[in-house]
């Protein structure tokens, strides 16, 4: 049973579900997992942080408020806040160039924002597959908490 997490969406589920985010570029996937209850959630976020001036739109679009939203939902569903662990993937810079514009660094800023937010929430990051210039597909198995990261140009997935 696998459920897709599209761009700007987040989803929580319980084992034996598998959460999948396809084709991450500069976007990041943040996976949160409680090994005791086997509850987990994943977000597929586009932007590092929500500007205070524009509360418009869905929270799951932004890394910072998106993570908080998943944590809240997990806790409400019965996950233990203290045992939550996190894994992050994505945050690539797909269009490598010799000149760097602001948008080019958005992948890096997404990953940075994820680390910062998780740090503030005191949730340990137990796996990372970020940066570079390759697209990724992420498969988060809630039965084990394992994440498989598939890249287009390599044969075997990376396990986190």
């Amino acid at each position: 049973m696998s459920e897709q997490v599209s761009i700007a969406e987040s989803r929580i589920a319980r084992a034996p579900a598998v959460l999948k985010a396809y084709g991450l570029g500069s976007c990041v996937a943040v996976a949160l997992y409680d090994p005791e209850t086997k509850l987990g959630g994943m977000g597929h976020m586009l932007l590092p942080d929500r500007p205070s001036s524009s509360p418009l739109g869905s929270e799951s679009k932004y890394v910072d408020v998106g993570i908080c939203q998943i944590v809240d939902q997990l806790v409400r569903a019965g996950a233990k806040r203290e045992t939550l662990v996190a894994k992050i993937a994505g945050g690539a810079n797909m269009f490598e160039t010799s000149y760097q514009t602001l948008i080019n660094s958005v992948g890096a800023r997404n990953a940075k924002s994820a680390r910062k937010t998780l740090g503030t929430l005191d949730i340990p990051i137990v796996g990372e597959e970020v940066g570079g210039n390759r697209g990724r597909t992420v498969e988060f198995d809630l039965a084990t908490g394992k994440i498989l990261v598939y890249c287009a140009h390599t044969e075997n997935p990376i396990s986190l």
């Binding site: 761009i7 700007a8 396809y22 739109g57 690539a92 160039t97 597909t137 287009a152």
Partner: protein, 206 residues
């Protein structure tokens, strides 16, 4: 302006401007590869950002994406997408290479970027002269990867101001017989403020 509020007349204006711009671009491409290139009438699609990769045929489909920023009097992005088979065929036509698979190296990347450059320049100059605006394409950037990963780059820019994406899409088709056709998607993704300017210049506002 929120995309949702676009009326039929305004949609038609966007389609028609795109049609003319793309006509010029197709002529440029035909001359470059030495075969006629056909156009499919453009669609203006307004869709949730989360649905865009599916719209392109699935987030994991391998694509060559060439993107440029629109500079000058208007802002926005252009994204040109070729499924990998089409990119390969295009390269065979351009370089005379008879290789069986798509190989990315300095020469092929440069050739594909040049295609992006020529199409975008032709498109923007036609659009610009019609709207009496100066539109300049930036240096093209290229990525060869999963469709989702290639397009999220432009979606990020869009998502800052909206949960919806407006795509002005034109498909072009090479020799329409057979599987030898070259297929591609050409997207113009105007910034919301630029969209106002477009419609204004084209008489879409009373």
């Amino acid at each position: 302006m929120p995309f949702l509020k676009l009326n039929n007349v305004q949609m038609d204006i966007l389609k028609e401007t795109s049609n003319i711009g793309m006509g010029h671009a197709a002529t440029a491409l035909s001359q470059m590869i030495g075969h006629p290139v056909k156009l499919r009438v453009p669609h203006v699609t307004i869709t949730k950002i989360s649905q865009v990769p599916e719209y392109l045929g699935g987030a994991e489909k391998m694509m060559v994406g060439i993107t440029l920023q629109v500079l000058g009097d208007a802002r926005g992005s252009i994204m040109l997408l070729f499924p990998q088979e089409s990119a390969h065929r295009l390269l065979c036509n351009l370089t005379g290479d008879q290789g069986k698979v798509l190989i990315m190296n300095e020469v092929t990347i440069s050739a594909l970027k040049e295609v992006g450059n020529i199409l975008s320049s032709a498109y923007l100059s036609a659009l610009g002269s019609m709207l009496h605006k100066t539109l300049i394409p930036s240096v093209p950037l290229l990525a060869y990867d999963m469709a989702g990963a290639v397009v999220d780059y432009v979606l990020i820019d869009l998502s800052k101001s909206s949960d919806l994406a407006m795509l002005v899409e034109t498909d072009f088709i090479g020799e329409s017989s057979s599987d030898l056709a070259i297929k591609g998607h050409f997207f113009l993704i105007p910034d919301p403020s630029t969209l106002d300017m477009f419609l204004d210049a084209a008489g879409g506002y009373q």
